[in-house]
């Protein structure tokens, strides 16, 4: 799936860049460090805009094309900023069979976004995720670190109201 580039202006701070330097210093010499650098960099910035990828390229000497290739290959790397409240809806088979599709539709309807997008106020982002392995509780969604199982479309509004 092609990843859309963000139109949001990059607002990285010097503190964040310091953290990035520390990450690169930590993994720099390891074989296969790029993925780990990207994983940790995404923790720092919340996403991986092209500006951050360029910084990593300059600081590590790894070509930008290679970094961009890795960042766009793995679905966990996001080129778009996430909302403060990141909602993931499991669309794995078990959850899908148990009705996670309608749950996703309800969430998108209430927030006025499409899967993969962030709401206009920047508060909520909605993503489809692969199987979380909590199939016994299907359908499952996660909101930031919280997990909600056996969810019905009618429960969605109450759950969102907590955030």
């Amino acid at each position: 799936m092609k990843k859309k580039m963000t139109t949001v202006t990059f607002t990285g701070t010097p503190e964040q860049e310091q953290k990035l330097d520390a990450i690169i210093a930590k993994y720099g010499k390891d074989e296969g460090a790029i993925m780990r650098i990207l994983q940790d960099a995404q923790e720092v910035y919340g996403y991986l805009p092209i500006e951050v990828q360029k910084m990593i390229s300059i600081k590590t000497g790894v070509p930008l094309a290679e970094i961009y290739g890795v960042a766009t290959f793995y679905s966990q790397f996001s080129l778009n900023p996430k909302g403060k409240v990141a909602i993931s809806v499991c669309l794995g088979t078990a959850c899908y069979v148990k009705g996670s599709g309608p749950v996703m539709e309800k969430i998108c309807e209430l927030l006025g976004v499409q899967p993969g997008e962030t709401s206009a106020d920047g508060k909520f982002s909605v993503d489809a995720t692969r199987c979380l392995g909590a199939c016994g509780l299907a359908p499952v969604i996660t909101i930031n670190e919280d997990v909600y199982g056996k969810l019905q479309p009618k429960d969605v509004a109450d759950v969102l109201a907590k955030y």
């Binding site: 460090a33 790029i34 990207l38 290959f73 679905s75 078990a94 148990k98 016994g136 299907a138």
Partner: protein
């Protein structure tokens, strides 16, 4: 760590085995309360239940007499959160935080079981007091899952109490690398990731490859939707995988291993990291293990959400930090794998069987299963079935047995038609 020190820890931790198999305690801790801390039950609030339990025990003044343990998955996720009180083995299901004070007061202080919370058989509707008497467990044979729901996965000493690291000790002090490989071949163990390739043969290929550097890799990128066998093993018994990988390292001549885990499994990653740290601290990973001169250490690598990385060559490419694209075979990983070096790559569940085969022997393992496929297999039950969760049965068990007997059938009395 010497073998004698391992034996001393085992002796010290004896109550873990004895109380949990129904005997009276000898060390003053008269009850063990095991609460499921797998992903399923954690999502149904079991961590808060465990904390509330500890606070209530403190209030009742019996915190020293009762040990509260957050375990891995018991398997019966549909009825979570699950709690078992030993030595009597009372099985509480669907426990809520507000039920905890009643369990502490009536059961743990006064010795009266809280009947309304005891698990009810889904067909007869009768209360079943002990876990092992349930229809769900009776037809199961737990080998890879033996410690899931039975020990604290974050305490290496509980694993040692259940013969943990004894297989590694035996291998390093009594067996040759070829002897280990021969045992794996004779056991008939086949890869549990789906391919079913004979594990011993795979190890033999890697052992035959000549190189200064070899790797042992564990495929924990369990991506098939609805499957959570490997996640549950990592959450419930991470040391079994660590021990098996060290055994594999000795067999093929490798001193380094990687576990590639999905980032979607945060609890599994955290417990595995903690287990690796503890194993290093106890000298069971690192240099000169058991004073035999054998070195072995492990690293964790996280996936980043790419289904294809469950394929072995794609997984190796991903550990190398690149786009996880598969590469053509041959050369097979056993010849040219991670960073171009000979590598064996096995699945989590496959590894979880290894220490048991070493300790209990080929004959025991081959007594289970079918002519061509030995041992047991773990299955995740999900979807329209009464007992959703995790089960382990001998190879050759029919799907009907798994669904109707263990799984409790299809809700609403519907018939199982086909699969």
């Amino acid at each position: 760590m010497k073998l004698s020190e391992l034996a001393a820890i085992k002796a010290k931790m004896e109550s873990v085995v004895s109380v949990r198999s129904g005997e009276e305690a000898t060390d003053g801790v008269r009850k063990h309360v095991l609460i499921c801390g797998g992903t399923g039950c954690t999502s149904s609030n079991s961590v808060t239940i465990s904390e509330t339990m500890k606070a209530e025990l403190e209030k009742a003044g019996i915190a020293d007499e009762v040990k509260v343990v957050l375990t891995g998955c018991f398997g019966l996720c549909a009825l979570g959160p699950i709690m078992i009180v030993y030595p009597e083995g009372v099985f509480y299901s669907a426990v809520k935080v507000e039920d905890v004070p009643e369990i502490v007061k009536n059961h743990l202080v006064n010795g009266e079981v809280v009947t309304r919370l005891v698990y009810k058989d889904e067909i007869t509707g009768e209360h079943v007091h002990s876990l092992m008497e349930t229809r769900f467990y009776k037809s199961q044979k737990r080998v890879a899952l033996r410690n899931c729901g039975a020990i604290d996965p974050e305490d290496i000493e509980e694993y040692i109490a259940k013969d943990g690291y004894a297989a590694l000790g035996k291998v390093l002090t009594e067996m040759t690398p070829q002897g280990v490989i021969d045992t794996m071949k004779e056991s008939g163990l086949r890869g549990r990731g789906g391919g079913g390739f004979p594990t011993g043969n795979k190890w033999q290929f890697a052992a035959n490859s000549v190189s200064d550097k070899k790797y042992v890799v564990c495929n924990a990128d369990e991506g098939d939707p609805g499957a959570f066998m490997d996640r549950s093993i990592l959450e419930g018994d991470p040391h079994a995988v660590i021990e098996a990988m060290a055994i594999a390292g000795y067999a093929i001549g490798a001193d380094e291993g990687y576990v590639y885990v999905r980032a979607e499994y945060p609890i599994a990653v955290r417990r595995l990291q903690k287990a690796i740290d503890q194993a290093r601290e106890y000298g069971l990973l690192g240099k000169d293990i058991f004073g035999t001169g054998f070195n072995f250490d492990l690293n964790i690598r996280l996936g980043a959400g790419a289904f294809v990385c469950g394929e072995e060559t794609a997984l190796l490419t991903s550990i190398e930090g690149k786009r996880g694209e598969p590469r053509p075979r041959p050369p097979f990983p056993a010849v040219k794998g991670l960073f171009g070096q000979p590598t064996i790559i096995n699945n989590v569940e496959t590894y979880a069987n290894v220490p048991q085969i070493i300790l209990k022997g080929v004959e025991w393992f081959t007594s289970m299963g079918t002519e061509r496929s030995k041992g047991t297999k773990v299955f995740a039950l999900g979807g329209k079935i009464t007992n959703t969760g995790l089960v382990e049965v001998p190879m050759g068990t029919t799907l009907r047995t798994v669904i109707e007997e263990i799984g409790g059938g299809i809700p609403g009395g519907k018939k199982f038609k086909a699969a």
